[in-house]
Symmetry: C2
């Protein structure tokens, strides 16, 4: 099967022009079919602050009331997405910005209220691979913003790591998929103080052990849960890494081998 | 040739949920191939105000400094565009939101500084009809936000009326194009106080006469200039109308007949 590279980028990388330029340089050099999935949470928090809208996070997830949904739609689907698309076009990479609503690419449902009311947050119901494959076959690079819809006109804020994993899983029926989670660190660190303490290969058992020990925490937990879920469901390779290391395929490689 | 309907919608219509729903109901019922082009200027002005960014207009054109460009990118390409796309998907209309940067659909250049420095405002250099036709042939409905790019990574604020006219002109090589400019009035009014004083057919000579007399003024002037330019360059029909009147094709019809 043909190879497809899916790069998810978030954190500080998309926030600052310099690091975004570096990511786009690296991304534009990847050969073959590609999809870029981006976040933009900190920029959304900054805009919300300026507008006097309070940001509430529960376990790394944003409580999304109506005003917050407007903010994330503007920041993710507008500001971040279109600057990435223009940046890729400048690098000769014919890209198209998408949310889940565009071409009905990702259907979701509003997360049911249990202990916490997350508001307009979407849980993914399905990925429409036929439209994505049509674009990929035209050598177009989809750039996904982390917004989906419920097919009834409601936009929904949706976790970008999960979008990347779900796209990777569904498209692994048609391609050999490599999934890269890119952020400002060089990989999963054994010691948060030491940038060079990257774990080169991480099994699920060791992940759970390190999570218990508090070595792996916060936003890294859902990212790794998504990554292992992708590995278990047909994705060939999942790497947690830095934009600089994409071409060398270095960073933390997830492994399904048992310890 | 097959028919293509291009609807440009702006003003209060896209701002309020009720009038937008009405427009989307009407638009979803149009048969055959369709493109929707939208504005959103007043929403941009409101957001700029909240952020303490001063809005400066010269002859209906927005002076676009860096902060203003961020605002219009967020409002046009994010908030307005994605809500329209989700609203059309809810009505069974498979749509995709685009700026000129997506698929490199519209190339532009930053307007040269003469008497006035408009900032990051784009003058259109070319329309990439092949990508648009690919989408139209897949029965996909492009929804265009009034943002273009310069192919070097710079997004540019671009007049939506001009985008609609330029798309109509370029696509008239492949389709019989009907162009509708929709806003809150029923057409071009002879008497601003009388909603029913719609001019049913308007020739260029009469337009210029009414402009001299001050009957036609402000934002209506560039809209009509764009409309007559489209008529002169292959577009079959240009109508200035209200969303309610699209299906009846009523409103002010532009005419190239000499008086």
């Amino acid at each position: 099967m043909e190879r497809l590279t899916i790069v998810k980028v978030g954190g500080k990388v998309v926030e600052e022009k310099e690091s975004l330029d570096l990511l786009l340089n690296q991304f534009a050099q990847i050969r073959g079919k590609r999809i870029l999935v981006h976040g933009g949470g900190r920029l959304a928090t900054t805009l919300a602050e300026k507008l006097g809208i309070e940001t509430q996070m529960v376990e790394g997830r944003r409580i999304t009331d109506e005003a917050t949904l407007e903010v994330v739609t503007m920041v993710y689907a507008g500001l971040v997405n279109k600057n990435i698309v223009a940046g890729l076009q400048a690098r000769g990479c014919n890209s198209i910005g998408l949310t889940g609503a565009d071409l009905n690419v990702i259907r979701a449902k509003k997360r049911p209220v249990k202990d916490i009311d997350y508001g307009f947050v979407g849980d993914i119901l399905g990925v429409n691979t036929s439209e994505l494959r049509l674009l990929l076959n035209e050598e177009v690079v989809p750039v996904m913003a982390p917004i989906t819809h419920d097919c009834h006109g409601q936009l929904l804020n949706t976790n970008a790591d999960t979008i990347a994993a779900d796209l990777a899983i569904e498209l692994s029926n048609y391609f050999t998929v490599n999934l890269f989670y890119c952020f400002e660190k060089k990989g999963v660190l054994l010691n948060a103080e030491d940038e060079n303490s990257v774990i080169s290969e991480l099994s699920f058992d060791r992940f759970k052990l390190l999570q218990e020990e508090g070595v792996i925490k916060e936003g890294m937990i859902p990212k790794l849960d998504n990554g292992f879920n992708a590995m278990r469901n047909g994705v060939s390779q999942v790497l947690i890494t830095n934009p600089n290391l994409i071409s060398m395929a270095r960073g933390t490689r997830l492994s399904l081998k048992e310890d």
